[in-house]
C-alpha cells in the first residue's frame, strides 16, 4: 500500500487523536459518574472511543480493538438509554476507561498490554444484562477475533451481504437476495446467475453495469438480457431497474466472491446464483417498483446501458446475447456551484518542529529589528519607518506565540485517573475539583509539567489528606477535597494543588530534617522555611515509604524540574486545615522580558519578572558585614548584596564603590531577595532566549543567553540559583562541565 514510513507517520497522528479522544472520554465519563452527563456528552464519548477503535483496527492493534469494541458497545447502550446513566455505571466506565488508556499506551509501545480480563467481563456483563449486542463483533472486526465463518467469508468485509443477514426484517425494503442452495458450493457445474437491480439500489447510485463488468472480469458471460419490462423511452425512469440479466460463471469461483460482487446492489435487488445441476427456481421475487414521478435528472449511465440494450423497442422477448453492449462513457460529473472553500477547515495540524522553526525565525527577526534600532539614528529610523516595522514584528511574535499556546487541560487530563488510583490504594475518599483548565500556556510548558503535577497530586492525597476516620474524628467531611487550579498572572501561570488535609506537621518535618542532617538542632527556622524543607534534597516524611509518593522521588525533584522550567514552587500550610503547593511557571519558555545591565563592561540580562526595584545606594546604605559579604539597608530590612563579578569569579579591574553602582533588588522565587550590584542599566527589552544546554552545557547561575540589538551576546542571569548560592556557604559558581 505504501511505505512503512508513511504509515508510521499516519499512526503517529492516530496516537495523537487517541490521546485527545481519551481526554474527551474521561471528561464525559467523569460527568457521567457525577450524574451530570448530557446526551451530547455521551455522544462525544462514544465518538471518541469509536475513532480509537477504528484506528486500532486499521493499524492492527488487536487488543486495543477488542477492548474498545466492548467499551463502545456499552457506550452505545448508554447512548440509546438501554443502560441507565447511574453514577455506579459512570464509575465502572471510568475504571474501564483506565484500562482503555492503558491499551492505548500499550499500542504506543509505552507499556505492556494490560490485563483487561475482569474489566472486559464487567463490560460484557453489562451488555448481557441488557440483552444487548453480541460481545464479539459480527462484522469486519470478526476476522481479528475469530476466524470468519466459511460461508460468509470475505463478504463480511462489506455490509450489504446478500447472505445470512436478514436485513429486510429491519428495513422492510424489498426482499432478500435469493440464495437457492447453500450446499452445492463444491459442485463442478458452472454458476448460473440471475440479476435484476432494484430501483432502490439504482437510486442509491449503484451501477449494474459495473457489477456485470466485475463478474465478467471473473470470467462470467452474459447469456441473456431480459428487457421485456422496458417501457417506451418517454416513460422510462432513469432510476428504475427494468432489465434482468442471466450469466454463467466458472464453478471454481467461490460463493463469497459472488456475494461480494453483488454487495452494493443487495439486498432488495433480485440476485440468485446456483450451480447448474439443479433447475433454477423461477424468480418470483418482485422488485419494489414504486411509481414515482421520474426525477428531473439526466439519464444515468446505468440506464444508458439499459437504453442501449433496447434499441428495438418492440422486441420485448428475451434475447440471447454474448455480452452486454459496451456502455457509453459516463457523463461528466455534474459541476456544482463553484464555491470557494471559505470554511475549508477550522483546525490544522502542524508539526511542532515547524512551529518551532517559525518561532526561531521570528526570534531572529526581532533581533535584526533591534540591530537596526541600535544602528540607525532616530531620524533615520523614522525615515525608514522602523517603528512600524518593530510593531509589526512584535505582533508577529505575539501571534506565533499564541500558535504554540494550548489549554492546560491537556496536562490536567491525567490527574483524575491518578486521583482514582490513589483513592483505591490509600482507601481515602477524595473529591477532585479542577479550575481554570482552559488557561492557555506554551506547549513546551504543558509537556514538562506533567511529572511535577503528578507528584504534587500524589503528595496531596498520600501525605496531605487524612483517612476518612481521622477526618471524621477531627469534625471534617470524611471526603477530602483536592483542588487543582490554573490561572494566568501576568507573564506567568500559577498552578496550585491544595488539599483540606492535616497540614504540614512542622515539628515532625523539623525533626526529620535534623535526623537527616539537612539542618542542625541550632538552626532557627521560620514556618515557611520548615515547609520548604519538604523540597529539600533527600527529604521524605513518610514514616514508611509508601509505594505511592515515596518512590525515591521526592518533592526536591519536583522543585528541580520546576526550576529548570524557570519556575518556582511555593508551599503554604495551615495545621489542621490543609496545604497548598503552588507552581509558578513562565507562560512561555522562549521569550523573556529582560533588563539589560552592565557589569565590568559585559552585558547581562536580569529577567524583569524577578526585578522588584533598582536603587542607587546612598553612602553607607551598603554595608560590609564580613569580607566579601555585603548587605543593603532597604527601608530598615537588610538584603544581601552580591557583585555579579564576584559570583562568577570575574576579576574586576576597577572595583567600584556602591555609590557609583546600581543595586537591583531581585526577588527569587523560593529564597527571598537579593541585591545585585551592577554598573549600569542599559535597556529593557523583550528577548529571545537561546538555550545554553543546547548550544553549550547547563551552567549554574545562568539560564540562557540572548543576542542583543548590536549583535553581541548577553548571558541571562538565573536569579533563583544566584540567591540560593548567595545564601549558601560557598558564594561562587564554578563552571561545571568545563573540563568535559
Amino acid at each position: 500500500m505504501s511505505d512503512d514510513k508513511e504509515l508510521d507517520e499516519i499512526q503517529a497522528i492516530f496516537f495523537e487523536e487517541c490521546v485527545e479522544g481519551l481526554g474527551t472520554a474521561e471528561e464525559g465519563l467523569t460527568a457521567l459518574a457525577n450524574g451530570e452527563a448530557s446526551p451530547d456528552v455521551i455522544a462525544g464519548v462514544f465518538r471518541a472511543v469509536h475513532s480509537i477503535k477504528g484506528g486500532a483496527g486499521a493499524f492492527g492493534h488487536n487488543a486495543l480493538l477488542t477492548f474498545s469494541h466492548a467499551f463502545e458497545n456499552v457506550l452505545d447502550k448508554i447512548r440509546a438509554g438501554d443502560i441507565a446513566t447511574t453514577p455506579e455505571i459512570g464509575q465502572q466506565m471510568l475504571s474501564a476507561f483506565d484500562v482503555l488508556s492503558d491499551h492505548v499506551s500499550a499500542a504506543m509501545g509505552r507499556c505492556d498490554v494490560p490485563d483487561d480480563g475482569p474489566v472486559l467481563s464487567g463490560l460484557n456483563a453489562l451488555l448481557d444484562a441488557e440483552g444487548a449486542a453480541p460481545a464479539v463483533p459480527a462484522g469486519g472486526t470478526e476476522k481479528i477475533e475469530e476466524p470468519p465463518a466459511e460461508t460468509t467469508g470475505e463478504a463480511d468485509e462489506f455490509g450489504f451481504t446478500p447472505v445470512a443477514i436478514d436485513l429486510d426484517d429491519l428495513s422492510g425494503l424489498g426482499s432478500d437476495p435469493l440464495v437457492l442452495d447453500g450446499d452445492d458450493d463444491d459442485s463442478d457445474e458452472p454458476w448460473v446467475i440471475t440479476f435484476k437491480p432494484s430501483r432502490a439500489a439504482m437510486e442509491n447510485g449503484a451501477e449494474p453495469l459495473l457489477v456485470i463488468r466485475e463478474l465478467e472480469r471473473m470470467g462470467a458471460r452474459v447469456t441473456q438480457a431480459d428487457y421485456s419490462a422496458l417501457p417506451p423511452l418517454r416513460e422510462l425512469e432513469p432510476e428504475q431497474g427494468y432489465i434482468s440479466w442471466s450469466l454463467t460463471l466458472d464453478s471454481m469461483i467461490e460463493r463469497s466472491e459472488l456475494d461480494e460482487c453483488f454487495d452494493f446492489v443487495a439486498p432488495d435487488s433480485l440476485i440468485e446464483y446456483h450451480h447448474n445441476r439443479r433447475a433454477p427456481v423461477a424468480a418470483e421475487v418482485e422488485v419494489v417498483q414504486e411509481a414515482e414521478a421520474a426525477a428531473d435528472v439526466p439519464a444515468q449511465d446505468a440506464s444508458a446501458a439499459q437504453g442501449e440494450a433496447s434499441t428495438d423497442e418492440n422486441n420485448k422477448a428475451p434475447i440471447k446475447m454474448a455480452a452486454v453492449p459496451a456502455a457509453p462513457a459516463p457523463p461528466p460529473p455534474p459541476v456544482g456551484e463553484a464555491k470557494v472553500a471559505d470554511v475549508a477547515s477550522q483546525t490544522i495540524r502542524i508539526d511542532v518542529t515547524r512551529l518551532d522553526m517559525l518561532l526561531n525565525l521570528v526570534g531572529e527577526l526581532v533581533i535584526r529589528n533591534s540591530i537596526l534600532n541600535d544602528r540607525l539614528a532616530v531620524e533615520d529610523q523614522e525615515r525608514v519607518e522602523l517603528p512600524q516595522l518593530g510593531r509589526l514584528t512584535r505582533e508577529i511574535q505575539d501571534n506565533v506565540m499564541t500558535l504554540r499556546a494550548q489549554p492546560i487541560r491537556q496536562a490536567f487530563s491525567r490527574v483524575p485517573r491518578i486521583v482514582r488510583e490513589l483513592c483505591g490504594a490509600t482507601q481515602k475518599q477524595v473529591n477532585l475539583e479542577v479550575q481554570g483548565e482552559t488557561t492557555e500556556v506554551d506547549k513546551s510548558v504543558i509537556e514538562k509539567i506533567g511529572e511535577p503535577l503528578t507528584h504534587m497530586i500524589r503528595n496531596a492525597i498520600d501525605h496531605g489528606l487524612e483517612s476518612a476516620e481521622e477526618r471524621e474524628a477531627a469534625g471534617k467531611d470524611p471526603v477530602g477535597t483536592v483542588l487543582l487550579s490554573a490561572e494566568q498572572k501576568g507573564a506567568r501561570i500559577v498552578i496550585r494543588v491544595s488539599d483540606d488535609g492535616r497540614g504540614i506537621d512542622r515539628a515532625r518535618v523539623r525533626q526529620k530534617a535534623i535526623d537527616k542532617e539537612i539542618i542542625s538542632e541550632e538552626d532557627q527556622l521560620s514556618d515557611e522555611d520548615i515547609d520548604n524543607l519538604i523540597c529539600a534534597p533527600g527529604f521524605s516524611t513518610a514514616e514508611t515509604i509508601s509505594n505511592i509518593s515515596g518512590r525515591g522521588v521526592g518533592m526536591d525533584v519536583v522543585r528541580t524540574n520546576v526550576e529548570a522550567l524557570g519556575g518556582r514552587i511555593e508551599i503554604s500550610s495551615t495545621p489542621g486545615e490543609g496545604t497548598s503547593f503552588t507552581m509558578v511557571l513562565p507562560l512561555t519558555l522562549a521569550i523573556l522580558d529582560g533588563m539589560i545591565v552592565r557589569i565590568d563592561g559585559q552585558r547581562y540580562v536580569v529577567p524583569l519578572s524577578h526585578v522588584i526595584e533598582s536603587i542607587r545606594p546612598e553612602k553607607g546604605q551598603v554595608k560590609a558585614i564580613s569580607p566579601g559579604s555585603e548587605v543593603i539597608d532597604l527601608r530598615g530590612s537588610y538584603v544581601p548584596v552580591r557583585r555579579v563579578s564576584d559570583l562568577f569569579g570575574i576579576s574586576a579591574n576597577d572595583r567600584r564603590s556602591p555609590e557609583e553602582s546600581l543595586v537591583i533588588i531581585a526577588e527569587s522565587d523560593t529564597a527571598g531577595c537579593i541585591g545585585l550590584m551592577v554598573d549600569a542599566i542599559d535597556d529593557r527589552r523583550e528577548l529571545v532566549i537561546k538555550s545554553l544546554d543546547q548550544n553549550l552545557y547547563p551552567i549554574n547561575g545562568l539560564s540562557g543567553a540572548t543576542i542583543l540589538g548590536d549583535g553581541s551576546i548577553a548571558l541571562i542571569l538565573d536569579i533563583d540559583a544566584l540567591v540560593s548560592t548567595a545564601s549558601a556557604s560557598g558564594s561562587r559558581f564554578t563552571l561545571k562541565g568545563m573540563a568535559a
Binding site: I10, E17, G44, F46
Partner: protein, 121 residues
C-alpha cells in the same frame, strides 16, 4: 484524468490512511472532517465518489448522505459508508438514506479498491 473521491471522516489519521491507500490506486483524494464540511466540499468539488464515516460531530454520515441525495446533481453519485459499525440496523438506515454500499473498518486497501470499482467506473 483520475477519479476524484471525497473522503469524510473526523479522524485525520483515517483520512490520511484512505488518501495513501487510494492515491496508490490512481484516485485523486480530497478530504473533509465532518458532515457539514463534507457537504460543502461535495458542492465545491462534485467528486466521482463520496466515502463517508457515520459517527462525526456537527453533521453525521446519515445526515450527510441525506443532504447529498437531496441535491439533484448528486442523485447518481455513488456513496460508500466506511464505518467501524456493522449493525444491520445502521446498514439498513444507511441504505434507506441513500448509501450505495457499506464497508466495515478496518478496511483492506485492495478490497476497498475493488469495492470502489464496483460503484465508480
Amino acid at each position: 484524468m483520475s477519479k476524484l473521491i471525497l473522503t469524510v471522516d473526523d479522524s485525520a489519521s483515517m483520512r490520511m490512511l484512505l488518501k495513501v491507500s487510494l492515491t496508490a490506486q490512481g484516485y485523486a483524494i480530497e478530504g473533509a472532517e465532518d458532515g457539514r464540511q463534507g457537504l460543502e466540499r461535495m458542492q465545491e468539488l462534485a467528486p466521482d465518489l463520496l466515502i463517508t464515516d457515520i459517527n462525526m460531530p456537527h453533521m453525521d454520515g446519515f445526515e450527510l448522505i441525506e443532504e447529498v441525495r437531496a441535491r439533484p446533481e448528486f442523485r447518481g453519485t455513488p456513496i460508500l459508508v466506511l464505518s467501524t459499525e456493522f449493525s444491520d440496523e445502521k446498514k439498513s438506515r444507511a441504505r434507506e438514506t441513500g448509501a450505495t454500499g457499506w464497508i466495515t473498518k478496518p478496511f483492506d486497501a485492495e478490497k476497498l479498491g475493488a469495492a470502489i470499482r464496483r460503484v465508480c467506473p
